[in-house]
């Protein structure tokens, strides 16, 4: 009986190996599918783990293992995938009751949208200049803007924090000459939107430079002959014609702001939603106040990640083209 099973198992395998040796194409195909499944599992598994935690009833979180012991043909073995201990989706409601998580998400949205609008307008002007005008100093200026995008946020944060605290007048660096005393911006959108705009602008400038540079001169000239002003030609002709480029820059800026951690955690000094703390503060407040409510942390993470997942699925063409054109241009 045992030999029969062995033969049955060996039969197809031997046949497959035989045909693979004759046709190596088959091996590459198999390797390809194995690798694809491997990458799919590794990228998506963490989300599955969040889901497992989120639907596990809070009472059963700490008892027993998430890796159940199963009976494998008489031998007990540990199942290699975590499975939920029970099912209770109430965590997705509690998330909003324990902490006003929707307010944190609204804050994040407001910050991301404001930054995106500022970046698109200012980067459009710069993209027009770099993409369509020839003037002395162009290469040096582009290099300077590129350099800004490489500096670490840590190199900017100390003076910015002091300025946004609004305690002392701003002086010209290396002198004591006071310029003016800034308003207190900590815990307001300004203290986050300003650094975000500067940090994420270079990428948008490079993307828009590429796209605006591709619009034929004739179209702009035609608009000018029709009586449009120079600025009008940019906003009424060149920008609409480069809509995919503008969308790319906007999507990437939005995601970058939504995902930002450094300034979001430092410039919002408290984790209260009323003080403009974005999702960083929201998710971390489950960690400090409700240390044992791991299911809520997981549920909040799932809720917080949904907007970007939807954005990636809807706008993946734009993201791919933007990241590759923008980053490789840089």
């Amino acid at each position: 009986m045992a030999t029969a099973t062995d033969n049955d198992n060996e039969g197809p395998l031997t046949r497959w190996v035989q045909s693979a040796i004759q046709n190596p194409e088959k091996v590459y195909r198999a390797l390809f599918y194995v690798a694809m499944v491997f990458f799919l599992v590794t990228t998506l598994f963490p989300f599955y783990w969040l889901l497992v935690l989120a639907v596990t009833p809070s009472g059963r979180l700490l008892s027993g293992s998430f890796l159940p012991t199963i009976d494998l043909f008489g031998v007990s073995a540990t199942f290699p995938l975590p499975v939920p201990k029970g099912f209770n989706p109430a965590a997705f409601v509690s998330v909003f009751e324990q902490v006003p998580f929707h307010l944190y998400m609204l804050n994040s949205f407001a910050l991301a949208v404001t930054t995106t609008v500022i970046v698109i307008v200012v980067a459009s002007l710069a993209g027009y200049v770099f993409g369509r005008l020839r003037f002395p100093g162009r290469a040096v200026l582009m290099l300077g803007i590129l350099a800004v995008s490489y500096f670490p946020p840590a190199a900017f944060v100390i003076p910015l924090f002091q300025v946004f605290a609004g305690n002392a007048p701003i002086t010209i660096p290396f002198t004591d000459f006071p310029l003016f005393t800034p308003p207190r911006l900590l815990n307001t959108p300004g203290s986050m939107v300003l650094p975000f705009s500067a940090l994420f602008m270079p990428l948008s400038i490079f993307i828009l430079t590429t796209f605006y540079g591709q619009i034929p001169d004739g179209l702009e000239d035609a608009a000018r002959v029709e009586g449009t002003t120079r600025l009008g030609a940019l906003f009424r002709v060149i920008m609409p014609l480069s809509a995919p480029g503008v969308a790319t820059a906007a999507v990437l800026t939005f995601i970058a702001v939504y995902n930002e951690y450094f300034f979001s955690s430092i410039m919002a000094t408290s984790t209260e939603a009323a003080k403009w703390s974005p999702i960083v503060g929201g998710i971390l407040s489950y960690q400090t106040q409700y240390t044992t409510q791991y299911n809520l942390m997981a549920a909040a993470s799932i809720v917080g990640v949904l907007p970007v997942v939807i954005l990636v699925i809807v706008a993946q063409e734009r993201i791919v083209s933007g990241l590759t054109s923008g980053a490789l241009k840089e």
């Binding site: 390809f32 694809m36 990458f39 799919l40 990228t43 998506l44 783990w49 293992s65 998430f66 890796l67 540990t78 002007l125 710069a126 200049v129 005008l133 020839r134 003037f135 162009r138 200026l141 290099l143 350099a147 800004v148 490489y150 500096f151 670490p152 946020p153 840590a154 190199a155 900017f156 944060v157 100390i158 910015l160 002086t171 660096p173 705009s197 940090l199 120079r230 995601i255 995902n259 930002e260 951690y261 450094f262 999702i279 960083v280 998710i283 971390l284 044992t292 791991y294 942390m297 997981a298 993470s301 917080g304 990640v305 997942v309 990636v312 993946q316 791919v320 990241l323 590759t324 980053a327």
Partner: protein, 326 residues
């Protein structure tokens, strides 16, 4: 004609003057006029803070502007000779005290470099694998690509939460199996420097490989497909095609992507702050944040050293790539 003049006159005179003035500028003047918003924004949020950070790093710590003690490069000297180590949280040192692994992982500079080198190396390998898969034509390619990109778009705080929940001592299921293999400390995993560094590197690889994959994919897709036809006719195997055509042609792209990612990796902060803590895994950015409220001079010196290291890497990129880097 009369309608035209009527509309013109209804506009405010200043606006018309401004428009006319703008129309008559030369290309160069117009270019610099449109760049003013960029200059203002980058000047206020990037250039001024950078200069000011450098200035602060030259002064002793007293914050109040009345008694500023100019100490020159003393903060930097102390940083590199160990005099500043007592201000760093959690017994962290700036440079390693000796060459043991513990001392290395306790040094802010070395931990940052280890993190950058190891994570970027793995991201490049995995990214290359993902890119080779996405370069194929197959049914459902769009969905696979979306799935592979999604980790890149996950907010850092949620990325941190995922790995915190995976390795946390109460609910984390992943610690026991990995501890059995000897990769992680079995208890108090997230407060163990070596284990936490390992977990943070894995978390970064999970999130950023996709970014690497997209950059490499762009390089792959710019390869002339005709080369493969020629190779097939010449009887080259798939492996030979990869070794002799694909790899040499995407090598420059990989080089740019590696340097680009290394620069970003040197900034590591958020994932450390969420998964573990800055006292356990002391990166350079961590040290800046941990000290900037109390020891401004020290903090500014660390920040400027971080910027200088990154600046040197970027200079290397620009010199190496020449004009193409722009």
């Amino acid at each position: 004609m009369s309608a035209e003049t009527g509309r013109e006159s209804r506009r405010s005179g200043v606006l018309v003057d401004a428009m006319r003035w703008m129309e008559n500028l030369s290309d160069t003047q117009y270019a610099y006029l449109l760049l003013i918003p960029v200059f203002v924004l980058l000047g206020v949020v990037a250039l001024y803070p950078l200069l000011r950070t450098f200035e602060l790093s030259l002064y002793a710590t007293s914050l109040d502007l009345t008694s500023r003690g100019f100490v020159g490069i003393d903060n930097y000297v102390q940083l590199f000779t160990g005099g500043k180590n007592r201000f760093l949280p959690g017994g962290t040192t700036f440079l390693p005290q000796n060459l043991s692994l513990d001392a290395m992982l306790n040094s802010a500079l070395v931990v940052t470099i280890i993190f950058a080198v190891v994570s970027v190396a793995f991201e490049t390998l995995i990214g290359l694998g993902q890119a080779l898969i996405l370069d194929q034509d197959f049914y459902g390619r769009r969905w696979i690509r979306a799935a592979i990109i999604i980790p890149w778009a996950v907010p850092i705080v949620i990325q941190g939460m995922i790995f915190f929940l995976m390795f946390n001592s109460n609910v984390g299921f992943a610690t026991p199996p990995l501890a059995d293999l000897g990769l992680l400390a079995p208890t108090n995993t997230l407060n163990d420097t070596a284990s936490a560094t390992f977990i943070i590197i894995v978390a970064d690889i999970w999130k950023t490989s996709a970014f690497m994959a997209l950059l490499i994919l762009a390089g792959l897709q710019s390869i002339d497909r005709g080369l493969y036809d020629v190779a097939k006719v010449a009887g080259a195997s798939k492996w030979q095609q990869f070794k002799l055509i694909t790899f040499p042609l995407i090598l420059p792209t990989i080089g740019v992507a590696v340097l680009f990612r290394s620069v970003q990796a040197m900034r590591i902060y958020g994932i450390i702050d969420t998964v573990s803590s800055c006292t356990v895994v002391p990166s350079l950015s961590c040290m800046v944040v941990a000290t900037f409220n109390t020891r401004v001079g020290t903090s500014a010196a660390i920040a400027f050293v971080t910027a200088a290291i990154i600046g040197a890497a970027v200079m290397g990129l620009i010199v190496w790539q020449g004009e193409d880097a722009i």
